[in-house]
């Protein structure tokens, strides 16, 4: 039964991914492509779909991993302060006039910010020879508040027009997607995804508690550190590709769990695929519903996903990570 459910979820996701490139404000017939349409597909739609898929994969997978490591169903990839660090770094970069790298400026500063915050959160979460889930969580929440308040201060005192762009980006903006960032995002996200999938058994064991994980033959601190690194890689890359997009990292793993259970060997890859497909659909709706205006994907994901999640929550008995 569960194999049928997994296959169905994967099949639907693949269908969405393969058709979404042809859909949008203007529907393109793949069998009768004109030169202009080919150009639109290759230089606008395809990179945007790929960025949406990569970000969705990163958020879906890292949400599943974090909820397991922190043993907390409320955890999402942004709870560790990585997104707020990225946003603050990008804003600081813009204010200090770091335009030297052209369109790379925002993503690069965001990635540097996200990486530094990952290390700082890891350092705060480290105690007695290892990462402690409760310390990680609290350090992430504390740093998030600090960074967001500094960011708001910067925005309120700045009259710079570029801050508007930074704000848009902070709330998730896929319209800037092009081919230039995709190879970097791909490398970081697939590396993070491969690490997390390869440590899925260890994550299952960690969910039973550190002592049982040790008894089952895992080095608890090493496994937790590897999983944390995988999340930091995926989240940092995702934030720098298209800003912070809510909902996916928090709720997609829960929705997937409702269907296929909590075994991380299946949950992580399926959450990744569903996250990718879901963000693709959300972006498609966001850009098609009232063109030429675009609704940010983060808003669309929450508007479609939340009622469905609440419906499932009402229907199911067992709720847990």
């Amino acid at each position: 039964m569960s194999k049928i459910k997994i296959s169905t979820l994967i099949l639907i996701s693949v269908l969405i991914l393969s058709t979404s490139i042809f859909l949008g404000p203007r529907i393109i017939n793949p069998f009768k492509l004109t030169g202009a349409e080919k150009e639109i597909l290759i230089s606008i739609r395809l990179p945007r779909v790929i960025v949406a898929v990569l970000m969705g994969i990163a958020l879906g997978a890292s949400g599943a991993v974090l909820q397991g490591i922190l043993r907390n169903p409320l955890a999402d990839p942004y709870i560790l302060g990585i997104s707020s660090g990225a946003a603050l770094a990008a804003a600081l970069g813009l204010l200090s006039g770091t335009y030297l790298l052209g369109k790379f400026s925002i993503p690069l500063t965001a990635f540097i910010g996200a990486s530094i915050v990952s290390i700082v959160v890891g350092a705060f979460g480290w105690k007695r020879g290892g990462l402690r889930p409760e310390r990680l969580l609290l350090a992430g929440i504390g740093l998030s508040f600090l960074f967001y308040s500094i960011l708001m201060l910067l925005i309120s005192i700045s009259s710079d027009e570029s801050m508007r762009r930074a704000l848009l980006w902070i709330f998730g903006d896929l319209s800037i997607a092009d081919w230039s960032l995709i190879p970097y995002g791909f490398v970081f996200i697939t590396t993070g995804l491969c690490i997390s999938i390869s440590r899925a058994k260890a994550l299952n064991a960690l969910m039973l508690g550190d002592e049982l994980a040790h008894s089952l033959g895992f080095s608890v601190q090493r496994e937790r550190l590897l999983l944390f690194v995988s999340v930091a890689l995926m989240t940092s890359a995702s934030v720098s590709l298209g800003g912070t997009i809510g909902f996916i990292g928090l709720l997609i793993p829960h929705i997937v769990r409702f269907f296929i259970g909590s075994d991380n060997r299946v949950l992580i890859p399926v959450s990744a695929i569903c996250g990718g497909a879901f963000l693709c659909v959300a972006d498609l709706i966001g850009k098609s519903i009232m063109p030429p205006m675009e609704i940010p994907s983060g808003i669309v994901t929450a508007i479609i996903g939340s009622p469905y999640f609440l419906y499932l929550l009402r229907k199911r008995d067992v709720i847990s990570i």
């Binding site: 002592e211 040790h214 033959g217 909590s262 990570i321």
Partner: protein, 258 residues
């Protein structure tokens, strides 16, 4: 059952341990476990039972002395190899683990790339939970949950089980059930078991008892020689005596019956 191999499979020698920034909790702890032995680790709350089991399983590292498993330092084993020989079941088991019985039990195979023989169904059969294999752990009773984790340890196939109060908070029915199951396993598979407990009645059922207080061994041996009035008073700070019933069975008499 007499064991063929009489050399200790687990040896703690002059082990010392202190929790972070606290004074030394365990000092010069020395004891060993032979093949096929079933040892009751008895002591009051806070006497160090869990700490001793965690030192023996490698979860805690001793500050002095050494722990040997099959004549090799415990820390020299790779994690997976150690898990095939030694299994620790903590006292507090998370009841909110989101797994089904079958999925949780099958985690016992994690240390192996090739399953060691016993199947998930056989393990579930042994603990009497085959009909609950598709239930979620959170929906089971306390006794069933314990038995699920015991099935997982059986699947893990380790020859030495370190069980931290597996009978705590269970109805008497389940206490008897789990004890019987462990004794059967010991007989069938010649596994060695150390079980922490603080119920003296329960300790009387063991072939070998280790009585501890403040991380020190007060006595080790058969219950008649270890569970004496003096040692029990020292261990529990209450006058306790083991008396014989007319039928021959032992019973516990307290200093002040209330």
């Amino acid at each position: 059952m007499s064991s063929v191999y009489n050399h200790p499979i687990l040896e703690l020698y002059n082990v010392g341990f202190q929790y972070f920034r606290n004074k030394k909790f365990i000092n010069n702890l020395t004891f060993s476990v032979g093949n096929g032995e079933f040892i009751g680790l008895l002591g009051a709350n806070g006497s160090g039972k869990s700490t001793i089991l965690k030192l023996a399983s490698g979860i805690l590292k001793p500050s002095d002395g050494h722990v040997k498993l099959w004549d090799k330092p415990l820390q020299s084993y790779k994690n997976k190899d150690r898990a095939k020989l030694l299994c620790y079941l903590p006292q507090l088991l998370d009841i909110n683990v989101p797994f089904k019985v079958r999925d949780l039990v099958s985690m016992g195979l994690y240390p192996y790339s090739i399953p060691p023989g016993i199947t998930v169904d056989e393990a579930l059969e042994l603990v009497g939970l085959k009909e609950k294999s598709e239930s979620y752990i959170a929906n089971l009773s306390g006794g069933e949950r314990r038995r699920t984790f015991i099935a997982m340890t059986l699947l893990q196939g380790a020859g030495l089980l370190l069980l931290d109060e597996p009978l705590a908070n269970l109805d008497i029915k389940y206490q008897i059930e789990i004890q019987r199951l462990l004794r059967e396993l010991k007989e069938k598979k010649n596994i060695s078991i150390i079980m922490a407990l603080h119920d003296i009645n329960m300790a009387l059922q063991f072939e070998k008892v280790m009585l501890i207080k403040d991380g020190k061994v007060l006595g080790i041996g058969n219950p008649e020689t270890v569970l004496t009035g003096n040692l029990l008073k020292e261990a529990f700070d209450v006058g306790i005596e083991i008396k014989k019933q007319d039928s021959g069975g032992p019973y516990i008499s307290y200093e002040n019956n209330f």
